[in-house]
């Protein structure tokens, strides 16, 4: 290492790597807890996902007879991709070393890589549910992915960069300006977040009813450590998406590498934002009903159009 700055950056990066992987299930637990409160239940507490993961890791894995190697490596690939995605988004500090390797387009690529593998693994066993889940997942994503890309494009056009670090710096350190294009983008982003994380109204994470499931249908055949990794990856994905939302729309308080004095405030702010976002997600889900699968393309088409509209507004107004 050439200079202490770089060592420090790597320390920050490793800290974030560790932090996201440990904190992600808690976010899922928090969303579930808020949902329980909204439904007038007591709820199982924010630590419940850890207990579930612990249980799964201690079980024996049952693998279907005709599963191939693809089925067995997929949980590791999906988990690795989601972990990396969550680790390169600047949530506490900007200018992390990993962020130079992958910009927002590559970030979308990482999500796509994980999705491709999980869809293929779902088809690997050859059950009716598996291929149905894969088909529906790809159906949702072929509209959600370009919508996400357009949202990120709007942000990168404003900040003149596709590097997340620079996007966050632009938004965090300028005086508060209302960008009309970002308003459209944020609505589109919330819709994409709901769809991509298998939430209501597109999918329901807590059902095993054949008419409604998408994500759950794909992972039906997984058990024990494989299932644990996939569930953990789903938490990481939700964490990553909310991080992107924070980075794009509420980046205030993120510090640069080496800024120790700002760090406690940054962590506190992050915690508050995450809690707020999680509660907001629970409220959104409580207010909506699950829609039929054939309505999903309309929902996502709307998201895509809104995102394109945001981009167009930026091109027309320059704001």
């Amino acid at each position: 290492m050439r200079n202490p700055d770089q060592i420090l950056a790597i320390v920050f990066q490793l800290t974030q790597l560790l932090l996201v992987v440990l904190a992600a299930p808690m976010l899922t637990g928090w969303v579930n807890l808020c949902q329980a409160w909204l439904q007038n239940r007591t709820g199982a507490g924010v630590m419940q996902p850890y207990r579930a993961l612990n249980k799964l890791f201690h079980k024996d894995a049952v693998i279907a007879d005709n599963a191939s190697w693809l089925f067995r490596i997929t949980p590791y690939i999906v988990f690795g991709c989601m972990w990396l995605a969550a680790a390169i988004i600047p949530i506490i500090a900007v200018d992390l070393p990993f962020s130079r390797a992958a910009d927002v387009i590559a970030l979308v690529g990482v999500f796509a890589l994980a999705r491709m593998f999980i869809a293929l693994a779902a088809m690997d066993i050859g059950t009716s549910f598996g291929s149905m889940g894969a088909r529906r997942e790809m159906l949702v994503s072929f509209l959600a992915e370009p919508a996400l890309l357009m949202v990120l494009f709007t942000a990168s056009l404003i900040s003149q960069s596709t590097q997340l670090t620079h996007i966050v710096e632009t938004f965090a350190h300028h005086e508060f300006v209302l960008y009309p294009s970002l308003a459209f983008a944020s609505v589109a982003f919330v819709m994409v977040l709901l769809a991509e994380n298998a939430r209501i109204p597109v999918d329901n994470p807590s059902t095993h009813l054949e008419l409604t499931m998408i994500h759950e249908a794909m992972i039906l055949e997984y058990s024990a450590r494989h299932l644990a990794l996939i569930e953990w990856a789903a938490s990481l994905k939700l964490f990553a998406y909310i991080s992107i939302g924070i980075a794009l729309f509420l980046p205030h308080g993120i510090v640069g590498v080496g800024n120790w004095s700002g760090l406690p405030l940054a962590v506190g702010l992050l915690l508050a934002k995450m809690m707020l976002a999680g509660a907001g997600l629970a409220v959104l889900e409580a207010m909506m009903a699950k829609m039929r699968i054939f309505r999903a393309p309309e929902f996502l088409g709307t998201a895509f159009l809104l995102a394109v509209l945001g981009l167009l507004i930026h091109f027309l107004l320059g704001a």
Partner: protein, 669 residues
């Protein structure tokens, strides 16, 4: 220049000659098909490699020219090897190396006589493509272009006993010739009535055309080359002809021959025509977007695996046209760096598509050999029987879906960067078109992932749908070598884009007079403008992904027991699972058909509840066929009907025509 005085163009000429010799050798050896496979095809592969190396050499050096004392009076054959041709020579050599190696194994069961002819056509096809790239006058270009069309026509109709294949071949030949005529007319416009010597490309570069005539030349060329590339609405031959050919030929046609049309457009627009006009770029961009969306939409509903790949080629040609359109727009508006960036994206994507599409087409050849089945709905579960093919095809599938860290992602990334840097063009309509185009590109890229999950999932994964495929065997050693080479190229092109971009810079310099300054600053990170705006480090990325995954595996293995057992699939407790309950190819494509219903001509035949033998039959076809081609065919038939009124085939009638003509002439003169 080296001590021996050998120029790259001499080597390239030698390679072409060797290909022709190999072809005739194959014809001579038709009594021993074993020898053709074991000797001639590998020899052809070595020539491919030499040609690619020669292209690599010429990419860094100045253009060299050769004039042969052959050809027309006053117009000897001119050849020229400059960076643009050199780049496409690398593409041709690299992809055909894999295809030729594969052919050595693929054709070994073919009867000698057929094989001898096929070997001749195959090598003539390769040689003619190299000639197209080297040609430096209209005459030699057209000769090479027509040789390419004819040799590939004969390759397409290898199985000419099947009526459908004859029909596909005829359609291909027809559209190829309509296109060739347009190209010839375009050359005619560009030589501007300066006599036969002005048919050299050098003379055309000197001619200053008015903007009207330049546009006429451009439109004719776009029509002609677009017909070859499968641009909308001239694409109808492509999904018929590409699947009809034997797989190595499909690979070459899709992977390489379509790029010859892209080469033609680039050569003509940026090199031969001195000026460009902004609406050319808009036109190409719009056509490219339509082509891309159309191709991927139709790929999603195909059930035949080779047809699916052919439609996917149409999509990729669309993306290349988008790149060319952007280059034109940026070049006209003086955004040199951006023009260089979109040209680099176009060229890179050409190279990538040549490798991954060849890989996938060759893979379908192995599947065809193992199972005798092209319909995806009959396959399934091949991952257990064909480990080599399934792994290598997975690389191709991931690459064509544009996923990091493989090569498809790099060119997609470059293209999207070009879009992102574009705001502030002086023409506000163009300025509005650009974000819409970016959205279209993103949408078709995402849909292509859908198509590829379907392609790979239905063929390789799941349960075996036909018991007859129980003994499907893996590809042989030659086939494996060909696939391995192409997959290797996909990985390498994905990991070291900076080296390739550095090489491509010579072409931008030549065509646009601009180059990508900062892209080459660091060998690890690809950064088109500067690292603050955007950078992508594939090696670093791979390292990070692989590191994180390895860490996960180690942690899980270390901290928890690795006990697992096998059991029957659970499937939510549903009993009696059968292979028939998986999605077929049609089933997987059904949502797309439903969403984009207005674009398809759909025929459904559904059983009623009382049918004793319920049968389902669904078909989704191209609407353009009915809307454009059939009326056109009707019109031509009507016109030729009128002409045939004159042609009765009776001699006294023709004598009467002659007599009337003479009288009329006498009156006038």
């Amino acid at each position: 220049m080296n001590g021996l005085g050998v120029l790259p163009i001499d080597v390239a000429g030698g390679a072409i000659l060797l290909w022709i010799v190999s072809g005739f050798l194959g014809l001579a050896l038709q009594r021993s098909p074993r020898l053709i496979c074991k000797l001639v095809f590998p020899a052809g592969a070595c020539v491919s490699l030499a040609l690619a190396a020669c292209g690599f050499w010429a990419l860094g050096s100045a253009a060299n020219i050769a004039v042969l004392p052959l050809g027309l009076p006053d117009l000897p054959l001119h050849f020229r090897l400059d960076p643009l041709s050199a780049f496409f020579l690398i593409l041709l050599g690299g992809a055909s190396f894999g295809a030729s190696l594969f052919s050595a194994g693929y054709f070994k069961f073919m009867a000698g006589q057929v094989l001898g002819l096929l070997c001749l056509e195959y090598h003539l096809f390769l040689a003619s493509m190299a000639m197209v790239l080297l040609a430096d006058d209209a005459y030699s270009f057209m000769v090479a272009w027509e040789t390419m069309a004819l040799s590939s026509y004969f390759l397409v109709t290898t199985d000419h006993a099947i009526p459908d294949i004859r029909r596909a071949g005829f359609l291909y030949l027809l559209i190829a010739h309509v296109g060739a005529m347009a190209i010839l007319l375009s050359f005619g416009v560009m030589q501007a009535g300066h006599g036969i010597a002005a048919y050299t490309f050098d003379a055309m570069r000197q001619v200053q055309l008015s903007s009207f005539w330049a546009s006429v030349a451009f439109l004719l060329a776009l029509f002609g080359f677009g017909a070859k590339a499968g641009m909308l609405p001239l694409h109808v031959w492509l999904p018929e002809a590409h699947p009809a050919a034997p797989s190595p030929v499909s690979a070459l046609m899709s992977g390489v021959m379509l790029k010859m049309a892209i080469y033609g457009i680039l050569r003509l627009t940026f090199d031969l025509l001195g000026t460009q006009i902004w609406w050319w770029g808009v036109l190409v961009l719009a056509l490219g977007l339509l082509t891309a969306m159309f191709g991927v939409m139709f790929a999603a509903v195909q059930a035949d695996m080779k047809r699916l790949l052919a439609y996917s080629s149409i999509e990729n040609i669309g993306l290349l046209l988008v790149g060319i359109g952007l280059t034109l727009i940026f070049h006209v508006y003086g955004r040199d760096t951006l023009a260089a960036l979109s040209l680099a994206a176009t060229l890179y994507h050409s190279l990538n598509h040549a490798f991954f599409k060849s890989l996938l087409f060759l893979g379908t050849g192995s599947i065809l050999h193992a199972t005798g089945e092209r319909n995806m709905g009959q396959l399934g579960g091949l991952i257990h029987h064909m480990p080599w093919v399934s792994v290598l095809m997975l690389v191709g599938v991931l690459a064509i879906s544009g996923l990091p860290p493989l090569n498809g992602f790099v060119s997609e990334w470059l293209l999207l960067q070009a879009f992102l840097l574009s705001p502030g063009l002086p023409n506000s309509y163009v300025n509005m078109l650009v974000p819409v185009a970016a959205a279209g590109v993103a949408l078709s890229a995402a849909l292509s992932a859908y198509v590829m999950v379907k392609f790979y999932g239905v063929i390789f994964l799941g349960q075996r749908r036909e018991n007859a495929h129980k003994h499907a065997h893996d590809a042989g050693i030659w086939e494996r070598a060909g696939l391995l080479w192409l997959a290797f190229a996909c990985v390498v092109l994905g990991l070291i884009p900076v080296f390739v971009i550095r090489k491509i810079d010579a072409i931008s310099q030549m065509l646009l007079g601009a180059h990508l300054g900062n892209a080459t600053a660091s060998w690890m990170f690809l950064a088109p403008v500067d690292t603050h705006r955007a950078s992508y480090g594939p090696l670093y990325f791979l390292l990070a992904v692989a590191g994180v995954m390895l860490l996960t595996v180690l942690l899980v293995r270390r901290l928890y027991h690795g006990r697992s057992r096998r059991g029957p699939a659970w499937d939510c407790g549903f009993p009696a699972q059968s292979a028939r309950m998986q999605d077929t190819a049609e089933g997987f494509g059904q949502p797309i058909r439903r969403i984009f219903e207005p674009f398809f001509r759909i025929e459904n035949e559904l059983p009623t509840p009382f049918d004793t033998h319920p049968k389902y039959h669904g078909m989704s076809e191209d609407k353009l066929w009915g809307l454009l081609y059939l009326p056109l065919k009707g019109l031509i038939e009507k016109l030729s009907g009128w002409v045939s009124l004159l042609q009765h085939g009776r001699i006294h009638l023709y004598l009467a025509y002659t007599f009337v003509t003479l009288i009329v002439l006498l009156i006038f003169v």
